[in-house]
């Protein structure tokens, strides 16, 4: 890859939030293992995985917390988004209620998580819409498929199960300053892109502060942590400021 020695590498904590069964675990599985499973067990509490993301200038090692989506698990979430530098808030394109839930999560994160957290809004299950090729250009012609309420069942059919238009979600994301993607964990469409975009959006300064508690870390990660070519700017422990969000 990059010539002239190893690229700087740093760890980034990422948390996935969103309603149950929108495909959070599936997105992670696609990103980490490039795999998809039809029947995934619901996540209990949270799952933890890691995956590297290579940027031209550096390597980001994602420490991914994949949380449980059911409403009542919400009070556990602070435990997982604590110190997170980035978040993937996922909704299901074919389920109107899931965007509302996603908005709740965004609000929660904006108020309770680390300041400066990078949030990406992700509409998953794009393959269930007739736009599964991912042609963003057709956006304008989208029908407001309010009638497609039971879309889940007819996923193989040509009928468009989409319940949330790209425009609607996009405008919300713009308002709140979120990254925005429509993905399919099943086909893999746009999945890598989401993570790459997040990696790119993480400010360098945050990268170094992540090490606060982990600065004593052994092994290769430590080198990346201390690299900080950009000079000793702003070491303020961003992640440390918001402990009260923790439910435990």
């Amino acid at each position: 890859m990059a010539e002239g020695g190893p690229k700087p590498s740093s760890s980034v904590k990422l948390v996935l939030l969103g309603e149950a069964a929108v495909g959070k675990s599936s997105l992670v599985l696609r990103f980490v293992n490039d795999d998809f499973q039809e029947n995934r067990e619901p996540t209990i509490g949270a799952a933890f995985l890691t995956q590297k993301c290579n940027l031209p200038s550096r390597t980001i090692k994602f420490e991914i917390w994949d949380t449980a989506g059911q409403e009542r698990f919400a009070s556990l979430a602070p435990m997982y988004y604590r110190n997170a530098q980035s978040a993937l808030v996922v909704y299901d394109l074919t389920k109107a209620s899931s965007l509302a839930k996603a908005k709740h999560w965004v609000a929660e994160l904006q108020r309770q998580a680390s300041p400066g957290i990078v949030i990406a809004l992700v509409g998953n299950k794009l393959d269930l819409t007739n736009q599964s090729t991912g042609l963003e250009s057709s956006m304008g012609g989208l029908s407001l498929s309010a009638a497609a309420s039971d879309g889940d069942e007819e996923e193989e059919e040509e009928g468009d199960a989409r319940q949330i238009t790209t425009a609607e979600a996009k405008s919300y994301a713009d308002e709140e300053g979120l990254l925005f993607f429509e993905t399919s964990a099943k086909t893999g469409h746009n999945v890598q892109e989401v993570f790459t975009a997040i990696a790119n959006a993480i400010p360098e300064s945050t990268l170094k502060t992540r090490g606060g508690p982990g600065s004593g870390r052994t092994g290769g990660g430590a080198a990346g942590d201390t690299f900080g070519g950009s000079g000793g700017v702003n070491l303020s422990a961003v992640g440390e400021t918001n402990k009260d969000g923790c439910a435990c």
């Binding site: 760890s11 149950a20 069964a21 039809e38 029947n39 995934r40 067990e41 619901p42 996540t43 209990i44 509490g45 949270a46 933890f48 890691t50 420490e63 917390w65 449980a68 059911q70 009542r72 698990f73 919400a74 009070s75 556990l76 602070p78 435990m79 997982y80 604590r82 110190n83 709740h104 609000a107 929660e108 108020r111 309770q112 606060g212 508690p213 982990g214 004593g216 870390r217 052994t218 923790c246 439910a247 435990c248």
Partner: protein, 1063 residues
């Protein structure tokens, strides 16, 4: 004090301290701080249903047919005979201490009385008292030799006899249960007359194989050992637990017996015994119904142990669906929580649906309380407990984790939540479950600690969550490997890591007892609940919808707190009153409370414990309002009579209820709320979903509608709409009167009068605070009628109802009333009777306008001179008219500008309005004043209160006026005017005479008598007569004079409302 302690002991026998907040716990348990009452301890020791209580206990020696002898104690409850040995024998691994705290006693039984065939008194040496007990499986006879005073023994036997007899009826259930037990089939080979004819359902494993290699698990040998044990020591319902029993479980249960032994050791078998059809009944009852839980369940059905072939089949999925749905219906507070699918799926491999259903409910209620609840407080609590145990037992590791900022619960939470089923390979998880069901939740902690201990060294090298997780993940994958692969000792080499885990868990951590867990839970409960609650509050407030934006964050927080305070305090209070009632009636709920849904009272009292009901009904709403608005506090608190207690009042509560230390008022120590028609309207207006209950969101939106108004126009419209029942933009005559009544009601205790309007003193500080308001209101009424529009033909309003009080009020107050008032009502009011009839049938709570009830043809064609005041000539005002009238009066204008909104005080930071505390102080001061003498004339009374500071003088003044008015009425009465209504009129009159007599008596007794009468007559059915009766004090006022023009028949409903308010 006496009654307090008795209530508490009663309550505590019904309440499981494990799931009570500590604050309450301390009250319940008084000095003991271990959180365990004898009854609770008793039930948990013997795994008994909640309906059981310890009735008698006696020291005794048990002799078994196999020759063993055990000393211990014999307990009797309503439907069980239980024994536990006191001297532990040589069971390895359990620490020796009292039977309750440490591991299971070495010998014991939990024998349902119905499973006892026969009890004989043994002839023996005279100083001994012994019984021979023959159980259902009559191949065994137990000998019980009592070691106690003869009289005690005899008493015990008496009680036993009595309870045995009462349990006879359960025989059918017993047969059913025994027939479904695999042990029965195993021992009898399916040939016994009571046994099953075909192999009982022992789970999906019978079809799709049980996990693991049966040979490696030595399933056959285990089965043989069990068969032997069961033959000698009884089975299923009659089983006796000897030390071998525990050992057999420790080495792992055989597949086909696993489900049944889980049932037996957890006690869910007994729930099934007494509720043989509950599961199927539930399925039938709720078949085809939908709920949020059902949706959530459907989502996860395909996602439950997908690697097990049984759950890729319709059969397996169907079973899972049915068990989870049935439970969600039976316990809607829990509903469905992810992880339950995995646990139930695991259970279903070894047991039938019915068995799994009851075991699930035992899990949720007793073994892992609160794990799956809405807030999952049990899960979080046990995580906290686990952390503190790690800190205690492995301080170095703990310190390391803290330093590395690794959060323990990120790994341990799934262990507990899915009972290790999700974390370990299934075969091993089931081994943990075997012990878990036998010994209780402490097992989860012991195993968890052992995992950390065994991996301690590696974990000390770990510096982040990720490494921490993968280290343990790795460990779980290698549980079947040798723990000592390099050992020279062949035996040691044969020990698997799993075996090592079990040994470490139960030997090294044998000090972790049930008591440890209980204590720790008690210790941490409050802080865990608090953090859940602050999270919940934060989230809820953020999601209250757009309306909420009109209120300040402080106000929202205040509303939130107040909402739940009222909700939970009131629920608790009602339960306490219920309990006290029960106690007084000496009606013990014996075996009737067996259904598993009955536990609901335990789960209330705190947001953190999960929602029970999240809706406020009207009474809750009143209590809520009384805390934020002084006008919502009742003028004369009822003392004798509290609706919550029904008619059956114990004399000792008479008079002043405060004498007893428990406040049995349904309002607790709070001021009793008023009950005014205006409040009912508010309630209905806020109840946007027509649920007869307000959610927090409703309340917030409702308050935002009043307090969040930006300008006076909005505020005026709001008020107008409250009275525009059919939303047609008009308010009829009745509505106008009701509006004025409401205005007086709201301001009857003074309000923030504008600085420079009128020369009166402000806000009740001196006197006359509302005087200008009085004038304004009467002016308001006059103007309303002046500017009102007549209704169109065909668009007619119902004849106004129940406003006599108002009419009078108006007249009393309106010194400028025109003379013509006196004679205006000339037209016959033919339709009255008909309407009355209809009214009677109407639900008293609905107040819809049935404008079509009145046949237009019966209307008089000729209008009388003063249309405005003729009840037969419907009229209305529109919003613009209303606005104009309000704005024409600067006092009213000010009221709508700020007064109304300010009359509700939310967060206490507002300095210009009285705080909540002041309100209640004011209320009690007020309570001393009137003494309830002038029932009905609340608006007026409030006014007078400010003028005259002496309650008696107020009363006299009012009475004088009423008498005068009555005379006036009699003078003015025009014979024949109400021809059609003669009877009714007569009735009303005669009753009023009686009322006047009453009024002459002591002021207080008037109210009380009226109250009693009201109850006797039965409110809604009695139509006008009782309406008049109930409203008597008011009506006499009302009837006073002039009122005739406006006087219209009273419907029962509103009158009753007034009455209630004044009682």
């Amino acid at each position: 004090m006496l009654s307090l302690s008795s209530l508490i002991s009663k309550a505590s026998s019904l309440i499981d301290p494990n799931i009570l907040p500590p604050s309450l716990l301390n009250q319940v348990n008084g000095s003991t701080n271990d959180g365990q009452t004898p009854a609770v301890l008793f039930r948990s020791n013997f795994r008994l249903p909640d309906s059981e209580s310890p009735l008698a206990v006696i020291p005794c020696e048990l002799s078994l047919p196999t020759g063993e002898h055990y000393f211990g104690r014999l307990h009797l409850s309503e439907s069980f005979l239980c024994f536990s040995s006191s001297a532990p024998s040589s069971v390895s691994g359990t620490s020796s201490s009292s039977s309750s705290a440490a591991g299971p006693p070495s010998c014991g039984f939990t024998l349902p009385l119905v499973a006892i065939r026969r009890v004989e008194r043994l002839h023996s040496r005279s100083y001994l008292f012994a019984l021979a007990v023959t159980t259902w499986h009559n191949d065994q006879k137990l000998t019980l030799q009592f070691n106690s005073l003869r009289s005690t023994c005899e008493k015990f036997c008496e009680a036993l006899k009595k309870n045995l007899r009462s349990q006879m009826s359960e025989m059918k259930n017993l047969r059913m249960l025994v027939g479904s037990c695999y042990s029965e089939w195993l021992v009898t080979g399916g040939k016994s007359k009571d046994g099953a004819k075909e192999e009982p359902d022992a789970g999906l494993g019978m079809v799709w194989r049980y996990p693991g290699d049966a040979k490696k698990l030595r399933d056959r040998s285990k089965m043989r050992l069990w068969a032997e044990y069961l033959r000698e020591n009884g089975r299923n319902i009659t089983l006796i637990r000897q030390p071998t029993f525990h050992k057999l479980i420790r080495v792992g249960l055989p597949n086909r017996l696993r489900g049944e032994v889980w049932e037996l050791t957890s006690g869910s078998l007994y729930r099934r015994l007494f509720n043989p059809t509950l599961y199927t009944d539930t399925l039938t009852e709720f078949s085809g119904r939908h709920s949020l839980s059902i949706d959530e369940i459907e989502k996860d059905l395909n996602r439950s142990l997908p690697e097990y072939p049984g759950f890729q089949s319709e059969e397996g999925i169907g079973r899972l669906r049915r068990v989870l749905s049935a439970y969600s219906w039976k316990n809607p507070d829990v509903g469905y929580c992810q992880a339950m699918n995995i646990v139930v799926a695991a259970l279903l491999i070894y047991m039938s649906e019915t068995q799994a259903f009851f075991l699930l409910s035992t899990l949720c209620d007793r073994l892992v309380p609160g794990y799956y609840s809405q807030t999952m407080y049990g899960t979080l609590l046990d995580q906290r407990v686990f952390e503190s145990l790690v800190e205690k037992t492995m301080p170095i590791l703990w310190e390391h984790l803290v330093k590395s900022d690794v959060q323990l619960s990120v790994v341990s939470l799934p262990w507990f939540l899915s009972l290790f089923i999700n974390s370990m390979p299934l075969v091993f998880a089931f081994r943990v479950l075997d012990v878990f069901f036998l010994e209780g939740p402490k097992v989860l902690f012991q195993v968890g600690l052992a995992i950390l201990r065994i991996n301690g060294e590696e974990l000390l090298d770990v510096t982040d969550d990720g490494a921490f997780i993968s280290c343990l993940k790795n460990y779980f994958l290698r549980l079947d490997e040798s723990a000592h692969p390099r050992s020279d000792n062949e035996k040691l080499r044969a020990v698997t890591r799993f075996q090592e885990l079990m040994v470490v868990a139960f030997r090294e951590f044998s000090g972790i007892t049930e008591q440890t867990i209980t204590d720790q839970r008690t210790k941490h409960k409050d802080s865990v609940l608090s953090s859940i609650e602050s999270f919940a509050k934060r989230t809820t407030l953020r999601n209250l919808g757009p309306e909420s934006k009109r209120l300040s964050t402080n106000d929202l927080g205040y509303i939130y707190d107040r909402f739940y305070k009222v909700l939970y305090e009131r629920q608790e209070r009602l339960v306490a009153i219920e309990l006290e009632k029960e106690r007084l009636n000496e009606k013990k709920i014996m075996s009737s409370a067996r259904s598993i849904g009955e536990k609901s009272i335990n789960e209330k009292g705190r947001i953190g414990l999960g929602p029970s009901s999240q809706l406020m009904d009207y009474d809750y709403f009143r209590e809520f309002l009384a805390g934020v608005a002084k006008w919502a506090i009742a003028d004369s608190p009822s003392q004798l009579f509290s609706p919550g207690l029904g008619g059956s009042l114990d004399p000792q509560w008479g008079g002043n209820g405060r004498k007893k230390s428990i406040n049995l008022s349904p309002w607790g120590d709070n001021a009793e709320p008023a009950d005014h028609e205006f409040m009912q309207r508010l309630f209905r207006r806020w109840d946007t979903d027509y649920r007869s209950g307000l959610s927090l969101q409703d309340v917030v939106a409702g308050l935002a509608g009043i307090k969040g108004k930006k300008d006076i126009m909005e505020s005026i419209s709001y008020f107008f709409e409250l009275y525009d029942d059919d939303g047609d933009g008009r308010v009829d005559r009745e509505g106008i009167l009701r509006i004025s009544e409401a205005l007086l009601f709201i301001t009857r205790r003074g309000w923030e009068t504008p600085p420079n309007i009128g020369d009166q003193n402000r806000n009740g500080e001196g006197k006359g605070g509302t005087d200008p308001f009085l004038g304004s209101v009467s002016g308001f009424i006059r103007r309303c009628f002046e500017y009102a529009d007549p209704d169109q033909q065909g668009k007619q309003e119902e004849v106004s109802t129940g406003v006599e009080g108002m009419d009078e009020l108006v007249d009393l107050l309106d010194l400028a009333s025109d003379d013509e008032d006196g004679e205006s009502v000339k037209s016959p009011v033919k339709e009255k009777g008909a309407i009355k009839g209809k009214e009677k049938e109407k639900d008293e709570d609905t107040e819809e306008k049935n404008s079509l009830d009145i046949d237009p043809n019966t209307r008089p064609s000729a209008m009388s001179a003063n249309i405005a005041l003729d009840p037969a000539n419907p009229l209305h005002i529109t919003l613009p008219t209303f606005r104009m009238i309000v704005l024409a009066d600067e006092v009213l204008e000010y009221f709508f500008e700020t007064g109304f909104a300010d009359s509700i005080v939310l967060s206490t930071d507002g300095s210009k309005t009285p705080s909540g505390r002041n309100i209640s102080a004011g209320a009690s001061a007020f309570g001393n004043l009137g003494g309830g003498g002038i029932a009905g004339a609340k608006g007026l009374r409030g006014v007078l209160d400010n003028i005259v500071n002496d309650g008696m003088r107020v009363a006299q003044e009012v009475r004088r006026r009423m008498d005068e008015a009555q005379k006036e009425l009699e003078r003015n009465a025009v014979p024949g005017k109400y021809k059609e209504d003669e009877e009714e009129e007569g009735d009303a009159k005669s009753i009023m005479e009686g009322d006047r007599d009453l009024l002459k008596g002591a002021e207080a007794s008037v109210v009380d008598e009226a109250a009693k009468l009201a109850i006797k007559t039965g409110l809604p059915e009695d139509g006008e007569a009782s309406g008049t009766l109930l409203g008597s004090p008011t009506s006499s006022l009302a009837t006073t004079h002039v009122g005739e023009e406006l006087r219209t028949p009273t419907t029962p409903m509103p009158t009753r409302v007034e009455f209630e308010m004044d009682k």
